[in-house]
Amino acid sequence: MTATKKSLKFILLDILYLAMIILPFAGAIVLKVLITPQTEGVSLTGAIILWQIPMPLQDLYITEVQINSWAVVIAILGLVLFLRHGLSVKPYLKRQLVLEWIVEQCDNLVMSNMGQAFMGFSPFICAIMALSAFSSLSSLLGIFPPTSDLNIIAGWAILVFILITYFKLKGGFFHYLKSYTEPIAVMTPMNIISEFATPVSMTMRHFGNVLSGVVISSLLGVFLSSLTAGLPGLLGQIPFLRVGIPAVLSLYFDIFSGCLQAFIFAMLTMQYVANGFPGEAYEKRLKRRAERAARRAAEKA
C-alpha cells in the first residue's frame, strides 16, 4: 500500500494542511490565555468581547465565539484537504479510506432519512454534524465552545428553517398556506406557532444541552472546591478534588453530549425538511406546469 514514495511536495502540502488544522486552535488557545482575566472562584459568564463594531439594528460584537467558530471552519477545511490529499481511484493512502467512509456514512444517513431525491443534502448534513461536533469538542482544548452561544445555534436553526420553508413552498404557495389550516381551520394559530417553534426548539435543545453541561461543570467545580476548603492548612488551599472528577463529567458533557447533539440536530434537519416537502403536491404542480407549457406550445403552433 505504501509502495509509492511520497514526494517532497506531497509532504510539504501535508504539513500545510496539518498546520491548517492545528494553528487555528492553537491561536484560539493563545488568545484565550492572553485575554482571560484572573478571577477568584468560579463565575459563569458569556464570551469575552474582543471588538465592538457599530452596525445598523445592533452592534456587532466580535467575541471569542466568532473567533473560535472560524477556527473550527478553517480546521475542518484543513482536515478535508488533508484527507483528500492524494485521492486516487486505487486508494494507496489510509486516509482515503477514512474520507470514503465519511462520505458513505453521510450518504447512507441522508438516503435512509430523506430518500434519493435529497442526495444533494448530504454535504449540508455533513457540514452541520462536523460544525456542531467540532464546536462542542473544541471545549476540550479549553477554549470557549461556540455551541454554548445561543446565536450560533440560532443561525444554523434559521438556515434549516429557511430550507424547510423553501421545500414546503415547492408544492405551490397556495398549498403552503392551505397546509396551515389542516386538519381543520381552527388549528391555524397552533400550526403557525408550531411552524416557528421548530427553529426555536432546535436552537434551545442544542444550546440547553451544551449550556447545562457548562453550568453543571461549574457548579461541580464550586462544590468540589467547597468540600476541601474546610480542611486545615495547606490541604484547604489546594482544591485537589477538582483533579480528575470533573474529567468524568466532561467525558459525558463535552464528548458524548457534543457528538450526540450534533447527530440529533442533523437528524431533525433531515426529518423536518423531508417531511415538510409535499411530494404529491409538487408532482401535481410540475405536471400542471408541463401541461400549461404544452398547451401554450400548441397554441403557438
Binding site: L34, I35, T36, P37, L44, T45, G46, A47, I48, I49, M55, L57, Q58, D59, L60, Y61, T63, V65, Q66, S69, W70, V73, I76, L77, V80, L81, L83, R84, L87, S88, V89, L99, E100, I102, V103, S122, P123, F124, C126, A127, I128, A130, L131, P146, D149, L150, N151, I152, I153, A154, G155, W156, I158, L159, L211
Partner: protein, 169 residues
Amino acid sequence: MLANVQTMDVVYVNIWAVVISLVNLLILFLILRFFLYRPVRRMLQQRQSQVDRVYSDAEQAKAESESMRQEYADKLQSAHDEATAIVSTARERAERLEDEIVKDAKEKAEGMVRQADKEISQERKKAMNEIKDDISAISVEIAEKVIGREINQEDHDKMIDSFIDDIGQ
C-alpha cells in the same frame, strides 16, 4: 492581563452573531460540497467506470475464449472428418487399384495363355509340315530304293501330300 474585560451575557441575542453563524454554516457547506464531495464523487464515478470496464473486458475475453474454444473444437472436428475422409478415399482408391491390377494381371495372363496356345498350334503345324516333308522325302527315298528308279520329285510330293491329307482326315 487586560484590566477590565467585557463579556457577553450567558444568554443574549445578537442578530449579527446569528447572521455570521448562518454564513459560517453556508461556507462550510460549500467547502464540503466542493472540496470533499465533488472530488470523492468524481473519484467514485471513475472507479465505477473502471470496474465496469474491467468487468466488460472480462466478459468480452470470456466470450472470445469461448468462441475460440468453439472454433478450435470445430477445427478439430473438421480435421478429424477430413482425416477420416482421406483414409476412406485412400482405401477406396487402393481397392480400385487392387482390382485393376488383378484384372490387368488376369488379362495379361489370359493373353499370354492365348499367345502360348497360338504358338503351340503354330509350332505343331510347323512340326507337322516338317514331319510331312520329312516323311515324303523319306518315302521317296524308300520308294526310289524300292523301285530303283527316280521318281519325279514333283509328282511324288503331290502324291504323298494327297496321301497324308487322306490320312489326316
